[in-house]
Amino acid sequence: MSTARALLRDGRTVTGLAILALFGALALLAPWVAPTDPVALHDVLATRFLSPFTVGADGVRHWLGTDAFGRDVFSRLVYGARISLAVGLLSVAVSIGVGAAVGVTSAMAGGVIERALMAVTDAALAMPRIVLLLALVTLWQPSLLLVVLVLGFTGWMSVARLTRAEVKGLMGRPFVEAARAGGSGRLRLMWRHVLPNALTPLIVAAALGVGNAIMLEAGLSFLGLGVPAPAPSWGNMIASGRDALVNAPWVAAFPGLAVALAVVASNLVGDGARDALDPRTRRAPR
């Protein structure tokens, strides 16, 4: 059974992927989907804090209401999805790259190098991620690139551990022996034979990591350290809604639900992928 088909047989994976695909489509098609401009201000006093479903003076129906500046919450949510998804995917790509490199290197090198790399991994794991994020993002000029890099370089540790364990397990298997006996060099052996078989933990880690990164990015924006103010991001939308909690709870509520939904989706994909790709549980779906 092909990997893709094994993945798509699991209901959770399909549900999770569908949710993420929906968010992805909204993000890509934002200019066409969003009923209004996400940052433009009009008559603020007349349009602020309209509750969900009301029709504004300009005839636009505000499905999720408007915020303190009369901006359409749904439009901002859709544009915010761009930032959340971009940061989520890019930072996970960085994490996977770094983690796989560290994991493979330590598994192949062994000895002192392996122990040193694993010690560094453990040290990095002991660090509360948000602490490092806070320190870095404020001390350096905040930018989207920085957020991606920082999230990427603080999320590789579990990937490194999983990859190392997987690679070490594969190294003793007969097909690797055979490839080595057949004259494969180290790099070729790793690239052609070992890595393709060690993809399972990477896929699972990637799926789970996207949700985590989205949540952290929103957290940084919530603290005012992520995406700068007028541009919409789920995090800074929640932060701005906090000031209007009594009058307009919808301003903070919907972006939070969006974050939760994205995290749930990525967890569904991760769980489904783990069960589908792990031969031990493949035949016993629950």
């Binding site: 040290a123 002991a126 991620r129 602490v131 009594v246 967890n267």
Partner: protein
């Protein structure tokens, strides 16, 4: 056993050293000049130079690192740039609040989480199981700061507006009422508990949801093993099988989860402390970062690293205690 503990302690100290070293260099290589905090805005180059000398910033980075580390190890953590108080004093004020919040939320996390997970596993594939699976997944996905805000909306604003009973109207700020100094005995305890309620529920709910998901899987996993079938076949009472054979084996990996979940718990604490104005380490750190208060940033980072290392050590010892197989190995 003692050797094992000593070895882990040495490793833990190494981890803390790596963490604070990395933080030191990241902070010192970051753009921005801490001396600017000391001089008046618009001060001349001369004053800036003097401030730099006073702060020791004119020396080479390696020298600065050496002397900073030496002072740090001796417990001389310097003076906060923003508060002009000894850093150790600031930490001593804040640490108990963070410990209170994190230890109590760990208790809630594990007691509630394990209970839910076990109930789900026993009622496997019932509507109750499905409902709890969906609920825990959703709660687990919620950002702590958002759940905190929603709880404030319901239990602080909503409860007041709709005249809920007084015990359900919970305070949304601080660790004690402004006039708590005048309360006596029991009243003071109740006031503290009411202030702890919302931060605790925020962290506890998210943690319990994650734990429940894990425990459910672990229990179902163990139930499929042959020794459980053997135990049932021998005629052992179903409840005894569940408790002594299934649960004991299923909960072992949960102990490891404890160590791994600490960094996430402290991350959550940072947000929750900021939202509820809880006077703990996370809030101190966020304020210090905003004010470029380098000594405090360094100290809070180190403390968080130490807490995680100690937590991991405890989880390790706990694991050796639960799993007799590990007790013999050095």
């Amino acid at each position: 056993m003692l050797r094992r503990i000593l070895k882990r302690l040495a490793l833990g100290a190494g981890v803390v050293l790596v963490v604070i070293t990395v933080t030191f260099f990241l902070i010192n290589l970051a753009p921005g000049d801490p001396a600017r905090l000391w001089v008046a805005p618009g001060a001349g180059a001369e004053e800036l130079e003097a401030a730099r000398r006073a702060l020791g910033l004119d020396r080479p980075l390696a020298t600065r690192y050496g002397s900073w580390l030496w002072n740090f190890v001796r417990g001389d953590w310097g003076v906060s740039l923003a508060q002009q108080r000894a850093v150790t004093q600031i930490i001593a004020d804040a640490l108990p609040y963070t410990l209170l919040l994190s230890v109590s939320s760990l208790l809630v996390t594990y007691i509630v989480g394990i209970t839910i997970g076990v109930v789900q596993a026993i009622k496997h594939r019932s509507p109750l199981d499905t409902g709890l699976t969906v609920t825990t997944l959703l709660v687990y996905g919620m950002p702590a700061y958002w759940l905190a805000i929603m709880l404030v909306l319901v239990f602080a604003y909503g409860a007041a507006r709709y005249n809920w009973p007084a015990w359900l109207q919970l305070p949304a700020m601080g660790a004690a009422a402004l006039d708590s100094e005048f309360y006596t005995g029991w009243g003071r305890v109740v006031d503290r508990m009411r202030h702890l309620a919302l931060p605790l529920v925020t962290l506890g709910a998210i943690g319990a949801a994650g734990t429940a998901r894990y425990v459910r899987g672990a229990v179902l996993d163990v139930r499929g093993h042959e020794f459980v079938r053997t135990a049932r076949a021998k005629g052992i009472a179903p409840l005894a099988v569940e408790l002594r054979h299934v649960l004991r084996n299923a909960l072992m990996p949960v102990v490891t989860l404890l160590g791994l979940s600490l960094p996430a718990l402290f991350s959550g604490t940072v947000f929750v402390e900021v939202i509820f104005a809880w006077p703990g380490m996370g809030r101190v750190m966020v304020d210090a970062v905003g004010a470029r208060d380098y000594p405090v940033v360094m100290a809070t980072t180190a403390i968080f690293a130490v807490l995680v290392v100690i937590g991991n050590l405890l989880a390790d010892l706990l694991y050796a205690w639960v799993d007799p197989r590990l007790r013999q190995t050095p």
